[in-house]
Symmetry: C2
Subunit: 319 residues, 2 copies
Amino acid sequence: MRIVVLAGGIGGARFLRGLKRAVPDADITVIGNTGDDIHLFGLKVCPDLDTVMYTLGGGIDEEQGWGRSDETFHLKEELAAYGVGPDWFGLGDRDFATHIVRTQMLGAGFPLSAVTEALCDRWQPGVRLIPMTDDRVETHVAVELDGERKAIHFQEYWVRLRASVPAQAVVPVGAEQAKPAPGVLEAIGEADVIVFPPSNPVVSVGTILAVPGIREAIADAGVPVVGLSPIVGDAPVRGMADKVLAAVGVESTAAAVAEHYGSGLLDGWLVDTVDAASVERVEAAGIRCRAVPLMMSDVDATARMAGEALALAEEVRTA
Amino acid sequence: MRIVVLAGGIGGARFLRGLKRAVPDADITVIGNTGDDIHLFGLKVCPDLDTVMYTLGGGIDEEQGWGRSDETFHLKEELAAYGVGPDWFGLGDRDFATHIVRTQMLGAGFPLSAVTEALCDRWQPGVRLIPMTDDRVETHVAVELDGERKAIHFQEYWVRLRASVPAQAVVPVGAEQAKPAPGVLEAIGEADVIVFPPSNPVVSVGTILAVPGIREAIADAGVPVVGLSPIVGDAPVRGMADKVLAAVGVESTAAAVAEHYGSGLLDGWLVDTVDAASVERVEAAGIRCRAVPLMMSDVDATARMAGEALALAEEVRTA
């Protein structure tokens, strides 16, 4: 079975770990969000790609869900001692190595997709991880700060401000001019099923879909496209997805997110059992919907969720 | 009193610490060797400048004489795990911060001299540290390896090979086209005394003197130029200076090094008491010479050496 998953960071990475356990022999291609990439200290940092790579490769800090296990922060301390910022982005000593290798390879002329493949040579994530694009896309968030409207980098909004001010707009700068990375459209074209994990529908999955060609390829793939709600009981399972949903005019409910994707894209949608009442509304929008437990409390629970998603895809296929 | 010191790495840095203790009120300008600079992992590393800065700023690893105190090597471990080399150069997590800040500032267009000044803002070394040049100079060593003659970077010769093969030639590549960094010639022109610390006469002091204009400015400064022998009892006090002396046809003795600098440049020379017999030979070469203890066993002993150097300079001045 060939599965394509559109993944953001922590939610996507944890889902993928469950998916691998559910179908160990599946051929999984992950299209990773790069809209939250950021240049820090002259280095190219790709938080979502790294979270997927570290999580599936056994190098993740399990507790926080991002960054490296057994990590130290001496380099960061020294940068602060030099007065060189920003100081709000938590780069550890081990993590820095990834960004140094990546930056050096990019500087040598390799595209990000080739660099990601080289980094994965070490981590052996057990999936094929492809960035959505080799072109630069940078998600900006329009906010009002000190009475002034300005656009800031998504990481500044998410990590520094902890989404504490309303997002007025979310713009994947550069997306319109971006081309899908080599292998992205091919993987979608050859997939047996396409999955939207419980990742952020705006700044993770939404950014991937903003790269011209990807949304169309998924809609036209002729295979089941199923998703899992990142919203459980009207609140995001993790993080602050509601803040950026508001910016695109979508209410923070499992049903509203399904409608946001729409039946033109999505064939099936899983909501949590606490949101069973919304099944009807989702199905009324033309999307097959089931209510199952959606808390990724451990890998086994996550594997069951992945299994439910694949079962729903099978239902769609044979309907 | 305005003192100009031409410094390499460990020997120069330790001498400077003694000099500061000997004359706390002196205005000291250090012209630092950059011939051993190297690009590693896309970062600009300046080992000699950093050794001076860390030593005088209280951040040095006292035991090894280079690198940072309280250091960890997690980033380096990770680079090795990625299979990215070289693995023979000991960059620690704290040390990396210096190279990242430097590389970022150079990338932003600042010359190395301005970058060094900015780094010293943090370390407050108590001297003005200027790189010999803002231009790229890279010391290469010609060696025979596996039956083939090749030129390798000085660091590869010194650190990776531990000077285990004969150096056939030492070439400061780029020196001929280099210009002294801003402030270098001015400091020499305004100096009351110029000191060659017990640094390597070929790859440290020699490289500085290879930048057109610096040797001439020192020779023409009209102030005492005094040096301290890095060779004690026919062997280098530290390191492998004899290996590169052989490459320039100079025997590894205190007297031969003085003759190598020559009376056109050097007015006074200190040899260790064990080399007292060579005083006569040095003086026959037209260089005033004294035999005093030259082991930098601690800061007090080093301060006494610095005091002797300044006393010799005074002798030269009033002769």
